[in-house]
């Protein structure tokens, strides 16, 4: 499953990231990498943007980016 399918306050672990190098580097520098644990903190009303907590930072992502991150629920 992908990150966008995780509900608010649920935890998940990143399994795979499917995207181009540029975005992957961006994910890396914000600590979004394979095997990291994350929690979905908030979703906007239309579920178009979500906030996750990962390694003690809060990151906002658009749904289209979340779909590129494969996760499993903890």
């Amino acid at each position: 499953m992908t990150l966008d399918q995780i509900d608010k306050n649920e935890e998940a672990v990143i399994v795979k990231i499917n995207c181009d190098r540029v975005l992957k580097n961006r994910f890396y520098s914000l600590g979004i990498v394979k095997f990291s644990k994350l929690t979905v903190k908030e979703k906007t009303l239309t579920s178009s943007t979500l906030e996750i907590e990962i390694n003690n930072s809060k990151i906002a992502l658009r749904i289209s980016e979340a779909q590129k991150i494969e996760v499993t629920k903890v």
């Binding site: 190098r21 540029v22 975005l23 992957k24 580097n25 961006r26 994910f27 890396y28 520098s29 914000l30 600590g31 979004i32 990498v33 903190k41 908030e42 979703k43 906007t44 009303l45 239309t46 178009s48 943007t49 906030e51 390694n55 003690n56 930072s57 809060k58 990151i59 906002a60 992502l61 658009r62 289209s64 980016e65």
Partner: protein
């Protein structure tokens, strides 16, 4: 005196600029969202016989080329001369911050680490063993808090020590496989006796990282013939070991595990997963249902404040300048000189300074949004909405800055990575009414609407400008900027109590910039406009009126004649001719020639629109002894429908000269400025025409 040149590097929101402020009391803009320091800023100060030069580089999460900021920082660190890198880290988030540090270590320069926000780390029960950290990295680490002024002197001493001591070899260690290949390449370079300014290790790491510039350089070197097979062999070995051919991923994994390893060895986190204060605030401010209404309420409150509180000092300033003009004329007598000083210079600059309180309140509000970290939340809330119009959630930051001043707004747009996204944002920033347009709105709204309604109308003007901007964005996106969307991945920094000192810095900086404009550019423009509105003089007509005045039977007739002369002079002045010439263009919008002239002078700076109107309408009634305020003069002379149409035109047409220059620079060419001129002028004309027709039906 020794000079120490320091490159200040850190991820966004680690308090870099604030640290500079605590060290040197410098004037620098500081903010709590990505992209405040877009260009590098340089600060000079002296400490103990040393002359410090600190270059505040744009915040970068890593040294990739993802954003322009990261590019600027990377290029500076790799190509410029400096003595020491000062890497600022957020103590509460060391692991992610160390990711950048690992990349800095690869540069192999003298480096000092500032573990900033140490007070917050203590509050969150995070313990850092900085001595251990120094040993692992081979670089001195100093605990600091820019906000609480902790460790600042210690940091300066450490920098001096570092400057005076020899450079140690860097301790960035990769896994055995990569270290082996680095050794191989270094040995080869040594054997070949290769001459370079960089260290062999640095070159080896760059080659293994497939750094494009390094390859381009080496391909022109004779050594390349033997280097290439060696590299091929190295890569084969590495790929085999890591089971992937993506060298970037391999190095990222390396850096990440290095950072994670360092953190396990040096940081003790006793944080009992309580909800932090930031999370509590966020549960309200970015709440699904409450978030947006709260945001809109805050914006509305800000504009109400700007109007109501701002009015109090305005009255004082207004009467001060009225007195000053009267006094000047009294002392200098009735002549050309007193007219140019009083009616040209003082009146022009006075009408600009009049709006200083409004502008300071507005900038105060925006600075507050920036420094608390609320700005990122707003981007989070609005991205879904903005995305529908083809904009990026991050476009919000330059757009909101546009409400203050277009110049920093254009520069803030650099946070957008994708060229087309950035251009699109640049094109619609002008729709966000800048602080300099505020005086025009305040003047017209004050003249035509009741006091109770004024705040609401002002809010309406700003909101409808923003909505028009969004519609324009959608149209431009569909017609011109067709492209893939830029990804939206953004850090949400912790909420921070705004430091009064920092906000004061920002607000006073803006106020000073505004006053400087008033003192120089606008002063010159005011005198020019005064000249253009007073010359050429028609002696014949003046004599005729003067002789007629001798036969006048009472005061009223004399006044009427004097009025006639003043108006005749104005209409036939250079300014009047210019306005008359463009009248056919503006006539369908309900503007007379005076309004046309005011708009044209507004191309230089929006503040001048008000001062031009002041001069134009002030001169016309000068002979009447009661000095009416500009507001009531405008009410007498301009029909309401034309006023509304005028407001609409001002909302949309080209920003001031300075902003236009910055726009051309940021967009990447003068032709874009030409596009912007055509785009804004035609939109402004069409919408003003519609507004005029509708308003004419109502009034």
């Amino acid at each position: 005196m020794n000079k120490i040149k320091i490159a200040l590097v850190g991820q966004p929101n680690v308090g870099k600029s604030m640290l500079i402020n605590s060290i040197s009391n410098a004037r620098l803009k500081v903010g709590n969202f990505s992209g405040v320091t877009v260009t590098k800023e340089i600060v000079f100060f002296d400490y103990k016989n040393y002359e410090f030069e600190i270059i505040d580089l744009p915040g970068a999460y890593s040294l990739n080329d993802f954003t322009i900021e990261e590019k600027v920082t990377k290029e500076f660190l790799e190509n410029e001369n400096y003595d020491i890198i000062l890497n600022v880290l957020d103590s509460t988030n060391l692991q992610r911050n160390l990711f950048l540090t690992t990349e800095l270590l690869a540069l192999d320069k003298k480096m000092v680490l500032a573990l900033n926000m140490i007070d917050e780390a203590l509050n969150e029960a995070i313990k850092i063993d900085e001595k251990q950290l120094s040993t692992i990295l081979g670089k001195p680490c100093v605990k600091t808090s820019a906000a609480k002024n902790i460790g600042i002197n210690n940091l300066l001493e450490t920098l001096i020590n570092k400057f005076e001591s020899e450079k140690f070899p860097t301790k960035l260690i990769f896994s055995d496989v990569i270290e082996e290949e680095i050794r191989n390449i270094c040995e080869f370079l040594k054997e070949s006796n290769y001459k370079t300014n960089n260290t062999y290790r640095e070159l080896a790491i760059k080659l293994l990282k497939e750094d494009t510039n390094t390859y381009q350089f080496f391909q022109k070197e004779p050594i390349w013939i033997n280097l290439q097979p060696l590299l091929n062999h190295s890569f084969e070995h590495i790929f085999l070991h890591f089971e992937t051919k993506d060298i970037e991923e391999i190095f990222n994994d390396e850096k990440f595990s290095f950072a994670a390893g360092v953190v396990t060895e040096t940081v003790k986190n006793n944080n009992k997963k309580n909800k932090t204060l930031s999370e509590k605030i966020d549960s309200l401010l970015i709440n699904k249902f409450l978030g947006l209404p709260i945001f809109l309420f805050l914006m509305w409150g800000l504009f109400q404040l700007t109007f109501t509180v701002g009015n109090i000092p305005m009255d004082v300033i207004d009467s001060f300048f009225a007195k000053l003009i009267d006094q000047t004329k009294f002392y200098l007598g009735d002549n050309e000189l007193s007219s140019v000083i009083a009616d040209g210079a003082i009146a022009g600059v006075g009408s600009v300074i009049l709006f200083l309180p409004n502008i300071m309140i507005l900038f105060f509000g925006i600075a507050l949004l920036e420094t608390t970290g609320y700005m990122s939340r707003v981007a989070f809330l609005l991205d879904g909405f903005f995305h529908k119009f083809g904009l990026h959630g991050k476009s919000f930051i330059p757009l909101v800055t546009g409400f203050g001043c277009s110049v920093p707004a254009y520069m803030a747009a650099r946070t957008l990575k994708n060229d087309k996204d950035r251009l699109l944002t640049l094109f619609i920033i002008g729709f966000m009414s800048c602080g300099a347009r505020l005086p025009i709105y305040v003047l017209f709204v004050g003249a035509f609407f009741s006091k109770e309604n004024a705040g609401n109308i002002l809010f309406l003007i700003y909101i409808s400008g923003a909505i028009l901007g969004l519609i324009a964005a959608k149209v431009l996106k569909l017609v011109i900027f067709k492209n893939e969307d830029e990804p939206f991945v953004m850090e949400m920094p912790k909420y921070r109590m705004p430091s009064f000192k920092l906000i004061w810095h920002t607000v006073s900086n803006q106020a000073l910039m505004y006053l400087k404009k008033a003192g120089t550019f606008i002063l010159a423009a005011s005198i020019l406009i005064w000249f253009a509105s007073n010359y050429p003089k028609d002696k014949e007509f003046e004599n005729k009126i003067n002789s007629m005045m001798k036969f006048a039977q009472n005061e009223i007739q004399i006044q009427a004649l004097q009025n006639e002369l003043a108006l005749y002079n104005l209409e036939n002045s250079y300014l009047g001719k210019l306005g008359k010439a463009s009248e056919p263009f503006f006539e369908p919008l309900g503007f007379d020639w005076k309004m046309s002239v005011a708009l044209e002078t507004g191309l230089a700076a929006k503040e001048i629109v008000v001062s031009t109107l002041g001069i134009l309408y002030g001169l016309g009634d000068e002979v009447l002894e009661d000095s009416k305020s500009l507001s009531s003069k405008i009410k007498e002379n301009i029909p309401p429908a034309s006023a509304i149409s005028f407001i609409v035109f001002v909302m949309i047409y080209l920003p001031c000269l300075a902003a236009s220059m910055v726009f051309a620079k940021e967009a990447g060419g003068w032709r874009y400025l030409a596009y912007l001129f055509v785009f804004t002028t035609s939109t402004a004309w069409i919408l003003s025409f519609i507004a005029y027709k509708i308003a004419s039906l109502i009034y």
